[in-house]
């Protein structure tokens, strides 16, 4: 299974939904998301990962870049609904103490909209 990326604006927040597997073959698609963040008028960005089952180091690098970009642009940022195996990868990289994480999309929207 490859990576499926969908984007929609909800309550003024850009929600980027990742489904499937973020392996090396998905690197370009993930990097393209950075352009969407640059172009959006949304005041916040949420990466919704409930159906993301696999994430490699390059994909984590892209998410770090997205977080840095949002910080630079003054947009709020949050990861939502991480599966345990994905959360473990973020924990290993020390990102859980840096990047806001919510257990549901609604909670993430609430954090980012606030």
């Amino acid at each position: 299974m490859s990576l499926d990326i969908t984007k929609e604006v909800k309550d003024g927040v850009l929600v980027i939904t990742l489904k499937g597997r973020a392996a090396h073959s998905a690197n370009q698609e993930l990097n393209a998301v950075l352009n969407d963040i640059k172009m959006t008028d949304a005041t916040g960005v949420v990466f919704y990962m409930k159906e993301l089952s696999y994430l490699n180091s390059m994909a984590i690098g892209s998410i770090i870049e997205a977080f840095k970009l949002c910080t630079a642009l003054g947009k709020k940022f949050c990861l939502a609904s991480l599966r345990p195996e994905i959360e473990e990868l973020f924990r290993l990289t020390g990102l859980l103490s840096v990047i806001p994480v919510a257990s549901t999309l609604e909670e993430a929207l609430s954090k980012v909209s606030a």
Partner: protein, 137 residues
């Protein structure tokens, strides 16, 4: 159960090889919560070989063993690429630094070392040997 795969050092062959490895392991190990960790580690090494080593071939051998109802995978990746410098192998990202000060790269091998139960790298007679052992729960 022992399997050998031969790959050309191309990213598209990495995807095919990973699918074969995962399907083979899944056919024996019915419920493995941490199979994904092994596949991630394997992908990280294969992508590193393809992108940086200038190898002309990659050989992947893996063997599944069951002891006391627990499965273990032993794998060896062999390639004829450039030797990996020790400082690259030993580098771990400094997680105490803020993101803005962290260096790009180095996360892949860090993942391998963290996700695999036993990992060893050797360069012998012009070939790189990447040994990995992973217990499945």
């Amino acid at each position: 159960m022992r399997t050998e795969l031969f790959l050309k050092p191309k990213l598209e062959e990495v995807s095919t090889a990973l699918e074969k490895v995962e399907a083979t392991i899944r056919s024996f190990v019915k419920s493995s919560e941490n199979l994904g960790e092994f596949i991630i580690a394997l992908e990280e090494i294969l992508v590193n070989i393809v992108k940086y080593s200038k190898a002309s071939y990659i050989k992947l051998e893996f063997e599944l063993r069951e002891e006391n109802r627990k499965w273990t995978v032993f794998s060896i990746l062999i390639d004829d690429g450039e030797e990996v410098p020790k400082h690259i192998l030993d580098t771990s990202p400094d997680l105490s630094l803020p993101l803005s000060k962290r260096k790009i790269g180095g996360l892949g091998l860090y993942f391998v070392k963290k996700l695999i139960d036993e990992f060893k790298y050797e360069h012998i007679n012009g070939e790189n040997f990447w040994f990995m052992k992973k217990y499945f729960s």
